[in-house]
């Protein structure tokens, strides 16, 4: 954060004799370029590779040039989330069936928010200024309204949907950053250890152990989402 101008940081001035050239206005950097570069970096090397230094290297600029376009990293990440949503869902038209609409939006949004563990939280922290996001919210609320729910209930179910979608993305994104050895240990151990070790003490666990994998496949999220939509449909029917 930039400090109050009344309190200059006690920092040694660079020796003018050794200071190199300034940058000047080159007029090729802009937010969109930075964001698209950030997306490419994440897709190639994961979200932990997204540093200012990396962005600078990719675009042949000083890392600090990024601060001319984004106040700080959180602002970069917020804008990143919005851009990913636009890429995925700009121009989206609702499907004829409400469930399909909500599913398509949620699955795509989750995929977008997988980019970085903080993106979901940042999306929730500030009302977006993006027309695409407004429109998607409107579409989902409209889908719930088509079930006969009033505005307050539609909002409540929408927030449940958001919590689940962004939560799943946040969790999986954090998981993806763990080192592969840490992650890989899981499946093998569930399979081996509990078929034999603790069947008497934990019988339900022993019986289900072979099936306790796959929490992060896309179709697993869609399964959970389907449960949520079942419940919403059930409750809406109860309102009628």
């Amino acid at each position: 954060m930039r400090k109050s101008p009344t309190e200059p940081a006690p920092r040694r001035r660079p020796d003018p004799a050794t200071r190199g050239p300034g940058g000047g206005r080159r007029h090729f950097l802009n937010r969109e370029l930075l964001l698209d570069t950030a997306i490419a970096v994440i897709e190639k090397d994961g979200h932990e590779a997204l540093t200012f230094r990396r962005l600078g290297a990719e675009l042949d600029v000083a890392p600090t040039a990024v601060y001319r376009h984004f106040a700080d990293k959180d602002e970069l990440l917020r804008a990143l989330g919005e851009r990913l949503i636009e890429h995925a869902l700009d121009g989206y038209e609702p499907a004829p069936e409400w469930r399909r609409t909500v599913r398509e939006v949620a699955v795509a949004a989750r995929r977008a928010y997988l980019a970085h563990p903080r993106v979901g939280a940042l999306a929730l922290a500030r009302v977006t200024s993006s027309d695409v996001s407004f429109r998607l919210t409107d579409i989902c609320l409209g889908a719930f309204r088509s079930l006969g729910l009033d505005a307050a209930d539609a909002a409540r179910y929408y927030l449940a949907l958001v919590d689940m979608t962004l939560g799943s993305a946040s969790l999986e994104s954090a998981f993806a950053a763990l080192d592969p050895a840490t992650r890989a240990a899981d499946d093998a151990v569930w399979g081996a250890e509990f078929l034999t070790a603790s069947a008497e003490r934990f019988p339900s666990l022993a019986a289900s152990a072979p099936y306790m994998t796959g929490a992060f496949r896309d179709d697993h999220f869609e399964f959970t989402l389907g449960l949520l939509l079942d419940a919403i449909e059930l409750r809406a029917a109860g309102h009628a």
Copy 2:
């Protein structure tokens, strides 16, 4: 990570003349003390305050002493999650009613995993070695089994429950680390802007805007959880 011993780091040796005293075995540090200190730090100042230096300061030891007890920060965080679960749920006995059981476990687990955004992901990455966690998994699976579900279905619903619970914790934990001004901006803007600005373009959004807050209250998670449990109950009935 400690490197292979075949490849010493090219680092300048400290001048023996200036090197002070080593630490010796004082036998008062242990994992439990470190974990409980970590918990206290997080509760007092939030998860970003949890650094090795902070732990060292709290216990009057060098920060690097922590490495004698935990291989790295991830291992500390994993152990932290397990300890929090033990605090919350050790000795838990299932309620007479399956929904209440699952709800009590999920709400308490979510509360534990709010400690740090990475704890949920770390919990998923490795099969726990904690009896408490095994037992809780067994209890939840047992609750689903009591609905007449088979072992594979019980596992699938359990994973949905885990995804939702840990996801919600991960998201909210990340949200909690944002600065208060970023967080506070949200509610005011939902209230003001959309009652007036875009009602024609986004009618459902405009109607629901006054209700679009409160995503992070505990009762909101319980509402979403209730939806999930409704759906599980409905699908279990379809199996009968």
